[in-house]
Point group: C2
Chain length 138, copies 2
DNA sequence: TACTTATTGAAAATGATTTTCAGTAAGAAA
DNA sequence: TTTCTTACTGAAAATCATTTTCAATAAGTA
């Protein structure tokens, strides 16, 4: 499994595989840090100087649409993206270096049902995120 | 407990209580819907026509600093604010009308410890949010 | 190899937020 | 009360992120 997978996905969905998109995908694919569009732009331009920031925005939009990346919400801002986890996964973020870990196995059924009963809401989805310090930063 | 409480808090922290701030506080205090700066501006101007949008931004900033309001993160955007809950509370949001409910009593200790062990992270805080349809909208 | 049309980067437009600034008014002190 | 300092105000300008426009280019099918 490599970044080629993402390029194939783009192709299979009717999008063209271009040098600009390769550069963006190469930066984001498998990166364990959440990156903003500008950060992607800066890193990708090291490999492909002619890249435009607009193309970064457009490519991230398509990758998100194909569920290959997902937006990361943080106290400092909500414009960063990370490779999407497989299935129902949650994020653990290092507050210092921005490193991201995925985890699953949260069991919120009991809590969800209890809250649905108390509030009368029909609960459809949940967001759970943990913040802390990674092994390196602590 | 009324919006006067918030005005007192502003005063006690060395900020002045002005007509503009009263208008903003009157709109946000006790409101069960998350409101964006523009929405606060539109509603507050009904009571105080001379209000400027800049002052709304500045007042929201101070209310957040005093932990009287908190920012609400949603799939559609992260610029809205709601009266802050007391203590450690989480949000339940109606996807249709934006109504907000607070809840507490999540017990994530077991999960948190297990993930800390697996990842080597020192976990400091967590975000939990539920989304669904409120009793009216469902 | 030719040809259609999606994609590109640059520039302009947009929208949200922040800064600047000179006039105003809150509220402490007299 | 009145005075006086200075925090606060709204308008306009500046900034920053994101989106749209557009003519040139190149992906990839025919």
């Amino acid at each position: 499994m490599s970044s080629e997978t993402w390029l194939e996905q783009l192709h299979d969905n009717g999008y063209r595989v271009t040098a600009a998109r390769r550069a963006v995908v190469d930066v984001v694919y498998g990166n364990t840090h959440a990156l903003t569009p500008i950060e992607v732009y800066d890193q990708a331009r090291k490999k492909y100087r002619a890249l435009g920031l607009v193309t970064v925005y457009r490519t991230l939009e398509k990758l998100e649409e194909l569920h290959l990346i997902q937006r990361v919400h943080q106290p400092i801002g909500c414009q960063a993206f990370i490779s999407a986890g497989l299935g129902h996964q949650h994020l653990l973020l290092c507050k210092t270096c921005g490193q991201v870990e995925f985890f699953e196995g949260d069991d919120l059924d009991a809590l969800t049902k209890s809250i649905a009963r108390k509030t009368g809401y029909q609960i459809q989805e949940h967001w759970l995120q943990l913040f802390g310090l990674c092994a390196n930063c602590k």
